[in-house]
């Protein structure tokens, strides 16, 4: 009675007894016995039957009652038993796994790495690409731009397009214009003067993005009409920071760039422009009555009516654009629209915010981590197969002793699931650590990265994948059970490693190596792109240069001369400080994006306005080129020129080549902006400089003197300027306080920003590329490591399997070289097959990388060769230990075993 039921016996109950017939049989036995005993005591059969029936009571009711009880009992017992059986299996599996750390540790770690990389890539993809933007019904939001294929450029949207499109595009529910810029908020005793990001917007941005006021009101269309803005709306963040969340703030005045504006409202927390957070909202000057101008610099966002798509809207806009030549002849003379190929594109806002390059890189990363997971699975599958080899006798014996196939399957599947769920646990921990570190490590490298966190989606994905993999792995050892049983029945003494199993293991290794090669080729191409990019001459020397922003108020500095005087005093004061080699100013810095652009034209070129490409224009003060290490052929205007209003423009070689293809540009005349009849003389040509990024061609740039000649229009003096200081021996903080002190002495109302190293700015411009690059390289290295482990495992196993054979060979006089050749040959055949297949796969797969590459072809031979060689070397290394073991096999021991 106390003898425990063998585990497998308990499964018999799963088939379920026939309850009704059991009851019939039990009661039948009772009646038979009772009647027999009554007859024996002298009753007639009829009387005996009658008495037995009477003694029993209502047979029908009893029968039903018993049946109810038994069904209930059976149900409860089987489910409890099932749980118990599974619990036992899990306990047993855990115990077995604990006893075999050489299997469990690599399996859990390998799979855990694979699963964690999937979770990380998925979470990034989800946070950056898939999650809607933080606006109500954000799927309806689109972004507008003006591509001009003939000029190879993309502009923004002009003011007059707003009412024109709003009225005529049926697909638009609403449309808005916006621009972000920095302004100075005057200090007030408690707070120092500070630079804030302001969204200069059409009032329609609030209904378009569906932003309601948290306090007071939002902007109204009539706020857009006056030339001098009078109102401002605070962001929730700025309101809490500067006003402590005081509800009485409405109606107070705020001095923005020297103009007092009335605070009329506060937006809710989190309300921002699509592409960046803002501190303040101010009305842009958008008067439908103002004359239209060919000035396409504003960003635009629109909300689609339900049922319309971005391409519907684009189709509706196309005929409107064609007519713009006639409707706005003042803005577009000489069929400008037709000449320039100007059109209006409509793209889903999310695509625009994230950018196609980032989207592509993330999808590629996502594909790469699936390859890593496959490599990991192949590894673990191999481990399981090797281990199953040791369990084959057990499987066969248990099957022979009556364990049914489902029972054996349950046994192995439980084990598989235990392994993969342990791996999942490890993966969840790893993924949350890695993702937790991202915002700190890689802020600003990807859009929306601050919103990344490891959530339920990632956990669910890991668990789901782990379960599927666990079941699959559990079924592996059973694949050959039938053949083995037959072998046992036929009485063979040993179970030889079947050809099919060996083939499966070999193809797993080949597949692993192939996938690793694909990943390495991808990573190799990206690394080579990165190296090429670093080798690009950036045209300036960022080392030892520190930069700060300085902003004058338009009200206090009312002319070129006034601004230039301040800059000169600042330059002299800072330049005299010990450790400072040089100091200069310009309105924009290399690799930090151009501050708008303008059409320029060469004197006598007669070029039509439609041919005017957008050129980065800025004012540069003396000392700028020297400080930045930008070489200038000819000369750059100096302070004496500024005082004498001599003017002069320095241009980049790219611009020189276009305007004067075959002539020396120095001494030529050029015209910019709304320059009227004023022409500027080119006095110098710089080295090539990149304004936006190194992977774009060098920019066309015109640097105008800090003070123009008197004939030039005088409305555009530089107020917002980047100060650059070359002082390699000083820290950024020291320079910061030095500039602040100098500024306090000159004009305490002028705000000075944080000092930043120019080298940091350069790194930032490449951060997106670098970040995705690092992730993809990490994936490739992981795959490399995993497949090396896999290869090692298989070769080691093969050596173990062939120990006797090798022993015999040694016994009959095989040389060390022959044994090495035997073992290495086997592993190198697998590696070679993997490399060939992998290279073919990479040839097909890396085309998707093309747009991420810089001056590297997707079939770059150097990368392909390097990858092939390094994988082959790794294959050799992985086979090293098993080969050494094979050589040392002692024939006597090997032959005696068994």
């Amino acid at each position: 009675m106390s003898r425990p039921t063998p585990a497998w016996r308990r499964y018999l109950r799963f088939s379920g007894p026939d309850i009704a017939s059991d009851i019939e049989e039990e009661l039948g036995f009772h009646f038979e016995e009772r009647i027999e005993s009554l007859v024996a005591s002298g009753l007639s059969l009829t009387d005996a039957r009658a008495q037995a029936t009477a003694e029993f009571g209502d047979l029908g009711t009893t029968r039903t009652r018993l049946q109810d009880i038994d069904v209930r009992t059976h149900r409860r017992r089987t489910s409890a038993e099932r749980l118990m059986v599974i619990g036992d299996e899990v306990r047993l599996a855990l115990r077995r796994l604990r006893r075999q750390p050489s299997f469990t540790a690599p399996a859990v770690l390998t799979l855990g790495l694979g699963l964690a990389s999937i979770a990380v890539a998925f979470t990034l993809l989800q946070a950056v690409l898939l999650r809607p933007l933080p606006y109500p019904e954000a799927g309806q939001l689109v972004s507008l731009a003006s591509p001009m294929p003939k000029l190879d450029d993309v502009w923004g949207i002009a003011r007059h397009q707003l009412p024109y499109y709003k009225e005529n595009v049926r697909a638009f529910e609403d449309m808005a214009l916006y621009q972000a810029r920095e302004v100075t908020i005057a200090g007030d005793g408690v707070f120092p003067a500070e630079r804030m990001v302001v969204a200069s917007v059409s009032a329609s941005i609030f209904p378009t993005l569906r932003i309601a006021p948290a306090l007071g009101r939002i902007l109204r269309p009539e706020d857009n009409v006056p030339r001098r803005g009078t109102v401002v709306v605070l962001s929730h963040d700025y309101w809490t920071r500067r006003f402590g969340g005081d509800p009485q703030v409405i109606g107070k005045l705020l001095a923005v760039d020297g103009t007092s504006r009335e605070i009329v409202g506060v937006t809710p927390a989190g309300a921002s422009l699509p592409d960046r957070p803002v501190d303040l909202w101010m009305p842009d000057y958008i008067d439908p009555a103002a004359p239209p101008m060919n000035n396409h610099v504003r960003s635009s966002v629109a909300r689609l009516r339900p049922g319309f798509t971005a391409s519907d809207a684009e189709a509706q806009i196309a005929p409107l654009v064609v007519r713009m030549d006639e409707i706005f002849p003042a803005a577009y003379p000489n069929h400008w629209i037709r000449e320039s190929g100007f059109r209006t594109s409509v793209t889903p806002l999310r695509d625009e915010v994230v950018g196609p390059a980032v989207a592509r890189a993330l999808w590629i990363l996502f594909a790469a981590v699936w390859l890593v997971l496959l490599v990991a699975i192949a590894n673990v599958a191999n481990l399981v197969m090797v281990r199953a080899e040791g369990q084959r006798r057990e499987i066969v014996m248990r099957t022979a002793l009556g364990a049914s196939r489902p029972i054996m399957l349950l046994h192995f599947v439980t084990e598989g699931l235990v392994v993969t769920l342990l791996a999942a646990l490890f993966a969840c921990g790893l993924a949350s650590v890695v993702l937790g570190a991202f915002p700190a490590l890689a802020a600003d490298t990807l859009p929306r990265l601050s919103e990344v966190h490891f959530g339920l989606g990632g956990v669910g994905l890991i668990l789901g994948l782990a379960s599927v993999i666990g079941v699959g792995l559990g079924m592996l050892p059973m694949t050959h059970a039938r053949a083995d049983s037959n072998a046992l029945r036929e009485g063979s003494r040993t179970l030889t490693s079947s050809r099919a199993r060996m083939a499966l293991r070999n193809s797993l290794v080949v597949g692993q190596v192939a996938m690793t090669v694909v990943l390495l080729v991808g990573a190799g191409l990206l690394i080579r792109s990165g190296l090429r990019l670093r080798a690009v001459d950036d045209g300036f020397e960022p080392r030892g240069v520190v930069t700060l922003d300085v902003a004058l108020s338009r009200a206090a500095y009312r002319s070129y001369d006034a601004a230039a005087t301040i800059y000169r005093r600042l330059a002299e004061q800072i330049g005299a400080a010990p450790g400072v080699q040089s100091v200069g100013f310009a309105e924009a810095l290399p690799l930090s994006g151009a501050q708008g652009c303008t059409g320029v034209m060469a004197a006598g070129s007669g070029s039509s306005p439609g041919r005017e490409r957008c050129v980065a224009t800025m004012h540069a003060a003396p000392g700028y080129f020297e400080t930045m290490g930008i070489e200038v052929r000819g000369r750059a205007p100096d302070w004496a020129d500024a005082v004498r209003h001599v003017g002069g423009v320095v241009i980049s070689p790219a611009l020189a080549r276009r305007l004067w293809p075959d002539q020396d540009p120095i001494g030529q005349q050029m015209r910019c902006c709304r320059g009227g009849d004023h022409w500027d003389r080119v006095v110098g040509v710089t080295s090539e400089v990149h304004m936006t990024s190194l992977d774009a061609p060098p920019d066309e740039i015109a640097y105008f003197a800090i003070v123009p000649p008197d004939s030039a229009p005088t409305n555009n003096w530089p107020l917002d300027i980047r100060l650059v200081i070359k002082a390699p021996t000083l820290s950024a903080a020291a320079i910061q306080s030095m500039v602040r002190d100098a500024m306090t002495e000159i004009d305490a109302t002028i705000p000075v920003s944080q000092a930043r190293l120019m080298t940091d700015l350069v790194a930032e411009s490449m951060a997106r590329r670098t970040f995705t690059l690092i992730l993809i390289i990490a994936a490739a290295l992981m795959a490399l490591m995993l497949s090396a482990v896999g290869l090692y495992g298989v070769i080691a196993f093969v050596v173990g399997q062939r120990e006797r054979e090798i022993g015999v060979r040694i016994a009959v006089g095989a040389s060390v070289a022959q044994i090495v050749a035997l073992v290495l040959g086997q592993s190198l055949r697998l590696v070679a097959a993997g490399i060939v297949i992998g290279l073919a796969g990479a040839g097909a797969g890396t085309r998707v990388l093309e747009s991420l590459l810089f001056e590297v072809s997707p079939t770059d031979p150097m990368v392909l060769v390097l990858v092939a060689v390094s994988v082959a070397l790794l294959g050799l290394a992985a086979s090293g230990v098993p080969t050494a073991r094979a050589v040392r096999i002692d024939p006597v021991t090997a032959l005696r075993g068994d």
Partner: protein
Amino acid sequence: MPNELDLFQGTLDILVLRALSHGPMHGYAVARWIREGSDGTFRILDGALYTSLHRMDEKGWIDAEWGTSERGKRARFYELTPAGRAELQQRASRWDRYVSAVALVMAAPARA
């Protein structure tokens, strides 16, 4: 049979448990044991007896298993489980206390 008594609720269970405390038995044997043991004092319907057996099987106090009767027929045998044994002990002692209490009251002299 006017001199037969109806059983108190739950008393049948104790009798069945007690019967099985001698060792595994099939239902008919239990019925016979109670009938003979009580000298025909109780009127127990066999249907109720089987219901009690199955219910106690459900509760886990007894275990059912098919076996062969003394005369070679297939019969369903019941056996006390450890839980059933504990239950019997508890109920038996409660029953004793109940009986002696009733007896005590019945024997008490009239109140003054």
